[in-house]
């Protein structure tokens, strides 16, 4: 009895968080795809969090924030994961997180909206635009899309790697969050 009483507020809090549009971290993925010579490699970020406030009736009012733990990029082997945290790359000792904050959104087609926002990596903020497709799955919404960024724009990477590593990196996201 005591246990269930103690749990009740916790359950309520979880429900409230979900209703707020917090990401369902179990079912959301954020993957950076980069090209190493001719080889395309998918590297998922293992830890990130965020919130998406979306109302299908009012897509222009969509708000989204995302915060990514830059030490959690998993390239596939520990040596590479350690390398990318170093100063010429993410410098994650000084800049542990990358963030995205939406500034505006407009509906482009049914089930789609274009979001504009500010992407900050390594302390450098750059405007980006991304097309997001939305699909209702049960009580939640699934947001899918991808955008391309230039490593150079964010000073990511040792120049000695430019011969073997493309400047362009595509980030794919599949984010699940409770809707209105």
């Amino acid at each position: 009895m005591r246990a269930s009483l103690a749990l009740a507020p916790a359950a309520f809090a979880v429900a409230a968080l979900a209703a707020d549009g917090n990401l369902d971290l179990q079912h959301s993925t954020l993957v950076a795809t980069f090209r190493q010579q001719a080889v395309s490699i998918d590297a998922p970020f293992r830890r990130f969090e965020g919130e998406i406030d979306y109302d299908p009736a009012l897509p222009a009012a969509t708000r989204a924030t995302l915060s990514v733990d830059m030490t959690s990029l998993d390239i596939g082997d520990e040596d590479s994961n350690a390398e990318v945290r170093k100063q010429p790359w993410f410098d994650s000792a000084h800049f542990p997180r990358a963030t995205f904050r939406s500034t505006s959104a407009r509906s482009s087609a049914a089930g789609r909206f274009d979001a504009a926002g500010e992407l900050t990596i390594k302390g450098q903020a750059r405007p980006i635009e991304v097309t997001v497709s939305v699909q209702k799955t049960g009580t939640a919404f699934a947001y899918d899309g991808s955008f391309e960024l230039s490593r150079q724009d964010f000073s990511i990477g040792d120049p000695s790697w430019n011969q073997v590593l493309d400047d362009k990196v595509r980030v794919h996201f599949h984010l699940l969050a409770a809707g209105h």
Partner: protein, 177 residues
């Protein structure tokens, strides 16, 4: 049956020997290299070399199936048996070693793109724990392969310098096909 190897067989033997010995050396060296663009390049060469050996395994297999293999030179039965086992083991490793390398690369999410031109299919989906298993198999396979090659070479030298027979010489002779 001729006691001589055809030129094609001799050429294939030595090309594969050169490739495999280089790959073993490069493989050992690159494992200890720190992450760098150079390492990436060296690892790519190693993968391309391994895929080449895999391709040549099938070329040699096809050659053997369509051309008679010269008989082993006269030797005691136990040596003949041992030679047959060692040759079977060598061929098996020339197939298995490239395959565990390819499987390892696939399992850790690094597709092999042969010569930076031809993307090879991933043999398994990305699965890091499975990748660690294939890495172990590939590492131990390298040790086994090096041992078998060493014994193969020592046996050839023994035939040449101790038995004074034609075993090594006929693999060096550029005889007409």
């Amino acid at each position: 049956m001729s006691l001589n190897y055809a030129r094609t067989a001799v050429a294939l033997h030595w090309v594969v020997a050169g490739l495999v010995i280089t790959l073993l050396a490069v493989g050992w060296l690159m494992t200890d290299m720190a992450v760098s663009p150079t390492k990436l390049q060296v690892v790519s060469w190693h993968k391309w070399g391994g895929i080449t050996v895999l391709g040549l395994f099938f070329v040699r297999g096809l050659w053997r199936l369509t051309h008679p293999v010269p008989a082993l030179l006269p030797m005691p039965a136990w040596q003949r048996k041992l030679a047959e086992i060692m040759h079977a083991l060598l061929y098996a490793m020339l197939l298995v070693q490239p395959l565990t390398g390819w499987l390892f690369s696939s399992a850790v999410g690094r597709q092999v793109v042969y010569l930076n031109l031809i993307p090879l299919p991933n043999l398994v989906a990305r699965n890091p724990p499975l990748g660690a298993v294939f890495k172990d198999l590939h590492d131990n396979g390298a040790t086994l392969l090096a041992l078998v090659i060493g014994m193969h070479a020592l046996a050839a030298l023994k035939h040449h310098f101790v038995d004074h027979d034609d075993t090594l010489r006929r693999m060096l002779r550029w005889h007409a096909n």
